[in-house]
Each structure stands twice: as structure tokens, then as C-alpha cells.
Symmetry: D2
């Protein structure tokens, strides 16, 4: 099995490289970049060391067409332009960018502020929230890997929304993310001295992951209303926590709620539900593909609180991409992902 | 003016010491501790250096009765026991602990899990949320300094609640705090390797600051309902951000909302309201007594988002204590607090 | 292959568990603790999740005697007491503590302040600085795994000392470590608010790793003199950097020096030498078993600077232990350790 | 007293602004920038808030000539160009950049890689290592404020060098710095995700502070030889620790050494010497103008270890600049600097 990573000089690309290097069914993993050509990946990422063959190539459709699968870990716009031609040539494409996540090109253009990919390919793309879309993922030719916030949030909300247990207009998501989610590009917003010892809120009611979350919620329950969604930058490198609040339609017991989640995810290798009174911390999934979920119900207010954590570069990007890749290739979804979080 | 700090070996006590050492009207600031006697404060806190007179004394009612004012920066239960006798002898008491914050002793006992202070003194205690209680603070003999989360949250909510602009049952507070809020006592929960690169939620629906916030909201609008309130531990030392969500009763413009806040706080030296589209970060108040507030309104959901940040050891503890002390002594409330945040 | 970890509730033990869970030749990995019995490991370490069989047992010599290999990740004194009996029963023992590192019991007692293990076992113990002791490791029954600082320091110094290129009395080691090296026990010295935004020096000229380093240097060159060795606590969780200074006996070129290192380590899978002008950072080995080394030579002063980095819990503890375990079992030393660092 | 800060949009400039706003003898502090004009400082630094008059002006020699004193907190080259004209017009200049620190223009050009300031002004400039140059500082018209590393290092070395207690060729300085020392300009080297959980060494034997340190050492003892000097980037915002190693000429007692330091600095308000066995941490001077020093002597090696810590933006930049400014104006050097470190 020969695969390629486009955008290997970014964080998601580097994480893909780490995973695919150790993947039992991948014989060769080549790396491509739009900004560098002929340079070894270790020039950008010394931690990689002198891995054979890890020399960056520039994008070339003929060369790329020869791989079994191609991963895009690129900024907005790149896969929208390049992926269709690869799909047409029979290459399996896994896209970690947002270019194929929104089915409606007009919505994409409103939230991303740029032209959408061709509608036919938006339609063909399969949204890879693995745990809730396994059958479609297995058949996918063009896989659109979910965003980091949507992954944590949707896995946390799915049972409640699908079972119609919460008021459709009551969802508030207060999300916290480590800085690696902002990518490797340098800027004042990711400057250590500005981020360290600091919590910042950003893109209030304006994050491009909002329509992505709402689109999926809408497929689960057509009556869902817009959500309130905030994102906070936390002085850490990896990790996302989505703290989710919603009003229940009628009172239930916490134990029943936790049972519902355990049942919903009983076949999910990477989703772990905490016992009553216990909540996951982001570090408890660090470097792994797990999504850990804890739940609370408050009788005083009739609200449920869901705490869902992932490593944004793993289950929120490269890990889930490999999980989807596994299914697309007909393997067990856990191949190359069977390791515990790195703690502490 | 001679003052004493009880509990100078904790973080709030040390911060009080820093402020009172540089206070223009304090000639002498002595330090007391229940755990140490005859040892210089620099043994616990080397940053203090060889400040003259900073030798810790054990608690002694006769000795303490001679000060003009006494600050308690102590764990629960200490001021509840000692403060009444000092008040009776005419000493002004500023209590940074929670012992006198809840007017109803039964509520205290339920949330704090220990016996409440005598009811008569609970009644006499003035709640020192300075910006909204200046007149009473000026007359206070026993000042109960607000908790860190209530300070950030209540300053962020006051105009909305007092003007009855939000649904009474719609408040959700998602609070984030640095680790110094947990005090100096060592434990696994504050161990660096456990906290660093990590976000944890704790005391979900169970924090003792919930009744404190609800009590004050209730005095502003008797129709207020219970709030949803979550606290998160952030890998930083200082700073609190309260992200507050509420449903508006009827649509309004963001500009009007911001004008309301600016008007509400126009005489408040330490509250700064951000322009539309701008939100404060915790680092922007680091080491200072400011509370910075930003606001958003989302037409899609009809919800307002309030972002309120403080330094938990300053406006959330020692800074506000000095602010209240200033008013109790008849001085300008800004004395000894007129400095900018330390940035970065 | 059945193995046991004693001390699985500490950080090195947890890291061993992570590695051995994914080890291709380990069928079963049981966990033991002197402080807990009958409790699942996930009570101490939620990141582990519901791994089957990970219930803590108390130490029992009969039970332990049935394993093929036993790892001690315990505080000083435990393995010194328990390991001999296991060795006598034919169990391979890998000891991550310091109990068997110093050949001279009197030296142990002086630096550790407690009774040494029996002299016969001190003698039998093989010091597992893998790259320089592979043959002995393969035959070892009682393997003494090196300390974290000695591993980084000795790998950085070996070629210089063995080739007698530096003045014997000129070595100064300025080491920096993340906080996980101090273990999981809570104390003021590891309290987040004390460590964050802080650099501290500790155990100046008094660290118990000094005799361990000097012992090994002495076997390479009997003329070596005492070293100057300082350790600094850095506000990070993992990682050690040893910055090593020494005076050269006669001038040489940096390229020759780097060639010497590359040659010395050409068969070492886990040692990577940087090009001239490049130096490794601790994050570039994070979570992996690598030791990365960079070199400089200053003509102005005649001094060489060696920069050697490891992950203290991996190559500095659990990783090297597994590397040694592999050799003791006759496998390739890289089994279960073939993965790139987690970056960023 | 009217003063101006040039370069107020950088970290040292912002720190100067914080100090001068609260300075008892400064009536007005205006801000200048080469990159912005007509914009309020709070656009760059929201923590400043709506301070009256803090609107950035562009550099203009006529306007600047009207101030009593002008501070340059600018990148290399700016003050070298502008300061002479201001000095000629009788304005007191305090330069925080390196432009006037090296007396020999050729040395400047070799280490800074750019043209030196005019030789006449290099000669007139007074090097403001306050504690060792007070008389000259009082008379200075053009004050060259020391670099951050030289301040910590020279204060740590002065008594040893001046008393000729150490071998002239034996000094090794292993320095550690927080990230704010690299300034506010964004780059991969200051990107949070690259710096967090990381220690990096940089500019090995090549830092431009080396000739600055050697120049001053040479004035104290003409026999001094080149030093070995390394700088490490630490995942924290503020703080410098210089760990200094040197060989003593003849054995002495640690108590005598500490007495020498206490005597040397008995009139120094901002230098604090630790007791035997105690060492300062960077956090113990955070936000303050202190330099704290600890000492060790190792009989085994005949080496002394000096640990010297400062806040790089305070004693290492803005704080020492104000201290020098005070002396130049004839005031007590502690004016506006009398506050304890912010801890924790």
C-alpha cells in the first residue's frame, strides 16, 4: 500500500506521517508540499529524523495518481482544487481540510469566504464522523474528515439529539482548544508570550465549524435549531474540550443517561464513557485517537452537561483520518491506532 | 494605619502583603498564621525578601485587637470563629474567605459542609462587590469579600439582570480558572505534571460559589432562577474568565448593550468595557485589579455572550479586598491599586 | 510472554504499561503496587481506560515468581529488598530505580541516605546503558536501568571520554528536566503555581546521579576526575536536556567531532546526531526512545559543548527499560519502540 | 517631567509604559513608534486600556527634542541613528537597545552584523549596570542600558572577578531565558506550539551579549579570558537565570563567599543574596526590579556555582532603565520601582 500526504509541513500532516510510518499495512508514505520541493521533511520537523524517502515533492497530478490513497492536510482551497481530479482517476482521497464538509456550496462560501468545491464532489464526499457513518465511510472514494471541534461536539451530542431528549433550541457549546489547532503559521495570535498564562475567546458566533455541526445535527433531527458555539484558546499545545449544555425535555436519571451513551458507543473502540461523577480531562486522551465523554444532569436547572475531550490532532484530525482510511481499505478501523494516550 | 493579615502563608495572603507593603496609607503590615510562629515570611515566600517586621505570629485575640484593620485570608472556618470577637472590639475586618458571604447559615452548611458563623454576624457582614455596593461598604465593620468566580460573573451579569433584559432561567456560566485559585496546599489536583497541557472540569453543578452568585442575582431581580455553573482548571497560574450565556427577552442591538454596560460602569475605575467585536483575555488584567468585559449578541439564537475576566488573586481576592478596605477607611477606592497589568 | 510491573501507579510505571500494552511479544502485562490492591489501574490513571486485567495487586513473591520478567518502577529501597529473591527464582528483573546502579554499597549509602542492596546482587546487576553495554545486557538476569540524567549525560559524553579528547577535570554538566522526573507524589516543589513560569535549580552538587555518572566515566577512562553537575526544574512535563561543557586536550574540527559521534552511534537505532550548527530540542524526542545529540566547538575558549536530549520517561526510564528487556529476551532492541516522537 | 518612549509597541516599551505611568515624578509619558502613527497604544496592547494621551506618534526629531528624557526600546539600529541628535539638543537619552553598549564599533559590527553608531557617541555613552557604575550614571547624558543576559551574569560575577578569586579562563555561563526576551515579532521560534513543553539551546557561542559581558569583565580584571556562554529558551514568558561556573584560585568557605557578596551589595536596593544552601528561582523576582543571587562551592571540583536571576523585562530592561533614569535625574534610584515581585 502506497500513500501520500499533501501538506506534510503542517501539524496535521506531521501527525499523519507519525501514524502512517508505524501503520502495519502502509509500505510507503511519501510527502508533498506546495511550499517546498526536494527538501527532506526533517528540515521542517527535526523530530522526524533521517527517515528514508521523506523528501518533500511538489504537487503533481500524474505522480499523485499513482498512490492507493492520498491524504490532504492542507489549508482551505487546496483539496477543493486538486481532489476531484484524483478521485476521477480512482485514487482514494481523505481530505482533512474543510473543503468538502458542507454539502451546500453557498454555506461554505458564506462561512469560509472563498469559492466552494464543485457541487458534484461536495455531494459525493462522505462525512467521516466514523462512529456514526461507518457504512458510508467503507464505500467512500472522497472522504471528508470532520473538523476538530465538530468531532468532539457531535460525538458528545449524538445520543441526546438522535433520541430527541433535549430541547432543539437549547444547545450551548463552550469549546476550549490547545494552540496546535491554529496550525503552524506564525502570528501574534500564536506567539508564546501572548498565549502563555492566558485564556482568550475567539470567533464568537462566527466559527466555520458552526455550520458543520448544525448540518450533522440536522440530519439526526430535522427540528434542530441554531446552536450557540464559542471557542477558547488555552495555553496548551494539544487537546480540545467541548463543554456542552442543553435543556432536557423531561427529567431522567443520570444513570439512564450514561447507560444510553454506553449502549450507543458499545462498538466504538475509541469512545470511552466515564462513570457518574467522573469527567474526562484533555490530557487523558493526549496523543491517542480516543474521545472520552462524561455526563452530568442538574435537577435544579433541568440541564444536562456533556464533557467531551479529544486530541485535536488525533481524533480531531490525523487519527480519525487514519481510522476512516482503514475502513475505506477494508481493514479493522483500529489498525495503526492501538496505543494508549501518552500520560503525563 | 496598622493592619494585619491572617493567613499570610497562602496565595491571597501573599498578594495582600504585596499590595499593603506599597499602600500609601499603611504604615505597618503584620503577618499572622495558624501554622507558623516566629518564622520570617520569606521562609515560605522567598520573593518577599528581608522585609522588616514580616515575622509570622500566631493568632492572638489581644494582639489582633490593636490593629485598625485585620484581613482574613484563611481557609473556611477560621474567620467564622475569630472575626466576631474582633468586630466586637471595634476592629475593621475584611474577610477574604467564604465564611460570611451567604446570609443564610443553612445554605452555607449545605454547600460548605461545615458549621456556619453566628447568624447575627452573617447579617452584619457587608458583601463587598464594590462596584454595586459602595455605600454599604463605606459603613462596613465586617466586610465579606466576594469569591473569585462570583466577582467575574456578577460584574458581567449585573446590567443585564438589573435591567431585566434576559430570561430568568437562561443563565449558563462556563468559568475557567488558573491554578492559584486552588490555593497553595499540595495535592494531585494541583501537581504540575497533572495540570500542565490539560483542561479539567471540576465541581460540576456543585461549586460553593453557586449560591453566592444566586444570592446576589436574587437581590437584583427576585424572579431569577437557578443558574448552570461549571468551573474548569486551566494550565496557567492566574486569571479567571467567565463566559456567560443568556437568552434575551427581546432583540436589541449590540451597540445599545455595550452602551448600557459603559453607562453602568462609568464611575468604576476598575471595570473596562471592550468595543464591539473585541473581547478581553485573562492576561490583559494580570496582576491588576481590573475586570474587563466584552459582549456579543447572536441574532441566530437570541443569546447574549458576556466575557468577563479578572486576576483571581487581585480583583478576585486581595485587590478587591484592598479596594473595599480603602472605602471602609474613607479613602479613594483606588489607593494602592493604581497600576497597569503586567504584560506579557 | 507474561510480565509484571511493580509500581504501576507512578509515572514510569504508567509509561511502561503504555509500552508493554502495545509490545508485539508481550501477551499479558499485570500491575502491582505497594499502596493499592484490587483496584483497577484506571482509578489512578483514567487515561488507561478499561484495559482488561489491569487490576492492581499487592506484592507477593510467589505470584511474582511466575512471570517471565518483572519491572520495578519503585521508590528507592523496594527493589533492593524484593529483586534478589526473584532473581534467585529465575525471573528476569529490570529495575528502574537506583537500587542497583552503584557498584559500591557505601557510595549508595552516602548519596541515597539509606541501606544498600546486598553486595552480591550489586555485583551481578548489569548497568543498562544499552548503547554501550549491549553484550552484558543480553546476558543480564538483574538489569539496572540507568537514571534519566545519567542516560542523557553519558550518551553525550561517551565518545569524548572514551577517545580521551577532553581534559579529565573539565566536565561541567548543566542539566534541565521536566517535572515528571520528580514523580507523582504531591508536594510544594511540584505544585503547578510554584513551577509554572519558573526555573529552579536544585540539589546543587548533591544529586544522587553524580556518582552514577562518575562511575561509568571511570570505567571508560580511569583518569577521570569529579564532575560539576547541576539540575534545573523546567516548567514542562517531560524532557531532559544535558548541556555539557568540557575543555579539549587539543584543537579539532567540528566536522571531525561530529563524524566521531556518527561513527560511534552508527548501529544505535535510538541515537541521532545533528548536523553542524544544529542542536536538538527536548520536544524533538517527546514520547519516544530517542536520544538526540548536537555538538559545538569554540576556538575562542577551546571548549566543546554537547547538547543531549531525551524524554526522561522514555529513554530516561521506561523506554530504555523495554529496550534492555528486548535484548535480555533475545529480540531486536527496537521491538515495541518503533514510533516517532509526538510533535508538537 | 515629560518623557517619551520610542518603541512602545514592543515588550520592553510596554513595560516602560507600565512603570512610567506609575512613576511619582513623571507627569506625562508619550509614546512613539516607527510602525504606527495616530493609533492608541491599546490597539496593540489592550491591557493598557483607555489611558489618556497614549496615542502613538511617529518619530520626529523636533517633537522629541522637547522632552526631558527619551527612552529607546527599539530594534538594533534605531537609537544609533536617532539618539545622537537628541543628545546634542540636551535631551537625556536612555537606550535599551544594544547600539551603544560596545565601545569598539568594529566589535559591534562583527557581532551585530550592521553598522555601528558614531564612535564619539559610543565613547560618551555610559554603560548602565547601575550597581557598579552609579557615579557615571548620575552624570550620563546618553545612557546605554545593559542587555538582559549581561545584567544577570555580571551582577553574579562581579565580586568574584573584581576580587580575582577565580581562574580567568574558567568562566562558563549557562543561561536560561523566558520567551519575552525574543520580542513580540511573530516567528516559528516563538510559536507557542513549538516552545511549549520544550527546551531549546540557541546561538551557541554566538550571542551578541558575549562581547558585552567580556567588555565589562575586562574593565574589572584586565587578565580575563573569553567566556563560554550558552542561552536556552525556556517555556515561560519572563525570567532569566544565569547559572555560572568558575574555578577558584584557592579554596575558600561558602560563608566567606556569601559574606563577600552581601558586603558588595549592601547598598544595592535591588540585589538580594540568598543564605547558604538556598538558591533563587526566576519566579521570585517576577515583575520586579530585583536580581537575586545564590552561591555554592564544591570542594570536590574546586568550582563555584553562582545562580543569578532577574525578570528580563524589568532588571533586564525597563526596570533598570528607570533605575538609571532616576539617578540621571538626581532622584533616589528606587523611585517608581518599590514593589515586591508578583507571586505566584
Amino acid at each position: 500500500m502506497k500513500v501520500a500526504i499533501i501538506g506534510a509541513t503542517g501539524y496535521s500532516g506531521a501527525e499523519l506521517f507519525r501514524l502512517l510510518q508505524a501503520h502495519p499495512h502502509v509500505d510507503r508514505c511519501d510527502v508533498y508540499s506546495s511550499s517546498q520541493d526536494g527538501v527532506h521533511l526533517s528540515e521542517s520537523f527535526p523530530h522526524v529524523g533521517a527517515v528514508d524517502g521523506a523528501v518533500l515533492h511538489k504537487l503533481d497530478i500524474e505522480a499523485l495518481a499513482k498512490y492507493d490513497a492520498v491524504f490532504f492536510a492542507t489549508p482551505p482551497g487546496v483539496s477543493g482544487e486538486w481532489a476531484p481530479a484524483l478521485v476521477d482517476r480512482g485514487v482514494k482521497v481523505i481530505d482533512l481540510s474543510g473543503d468538502f464538509r458542507l454539502k451546500d456550496g453557498a454555506v461554505y462560501e458564506r462561512w469560509y469566504g472563498r469559492e466552494a468545491a464543485p457541487a458534484a464532489y461536495l455531494k459525493r464526499a462522505v462525512y467521516g464522523l466514523t462512529e456514526w457513518n461507518r457504512d458510508a465511510v467503507r464505500e467512500a472514494e472522497l472522504l471528508s474528515n470532520p473538523g476538530c471541534y465538530p468531532t468532539a461536539t457531535l460525538l458528545g451530542l449524538a445520543p441526546l439529539v438522535k433520541e430527541r431528549l433535549i430541547e432543539e433550541d437549547s444547545i450551548i457549546v463552550d469549546a476550549k482548544s490547545g494552540v496546535s489547532g491554529a496550525g503552524r503559521k506564525a502570528g501574534l495570535g500564536t506567539h508564546f508570550s501572548e498565549v502563555n498564562e492566558n485564556v482568550k475567546i475567539y470567533k464568537v458566533n462566527a466559527h466555520q465549524h458552526i455550520p458543520e455541526i448544525e448540518q450533522m445535527l440536522g440530519t439526526w433531527n430535522g427540528a434542530m435549531k441554531p446552536i450557540t458555539f464559542s471557542t477558547h484558546l488555552i495555553p496548551m499545545t494539544r487537546g480540545i474540550m467541548s463543554t456542552i449544555y442543553a435543556k432536557v425535555k423531561q427529567p431522567f436519571s443520570l444513570n439512564d443517561l450514561i447507560d444510553l451513551y454506553k449502549t450507543s458507543y458499545e462498538d466504538a473502540s475509541f469512545v470511552r464513557i466515564r462513570q457518574p461523577g467522573k469527567f474526562p480531562a484533555t490530557k487523558e486522551v493526549y496523543g491517542s485517537n480516543y474521545c472520552d465523554i462524561g455526563l452530568a444532569y442538574d435537577e435544579r436547572t433541568g440541564r444536562v452537561t456533556v464533557v467531551s475531550v479529544i486530541d485535536n490532532l488525533m481524533k480531531g484530525a490525523a487519527g480519525q483520518a487514519v481510522q476512516n482510511f482503514n475502513l475505506m481499505m477494508g481493514w479493522d478501523e483500529v489498525e495503526g491506532l492501538c496505543f494508549l494516550p501518552t500520560y503525563p
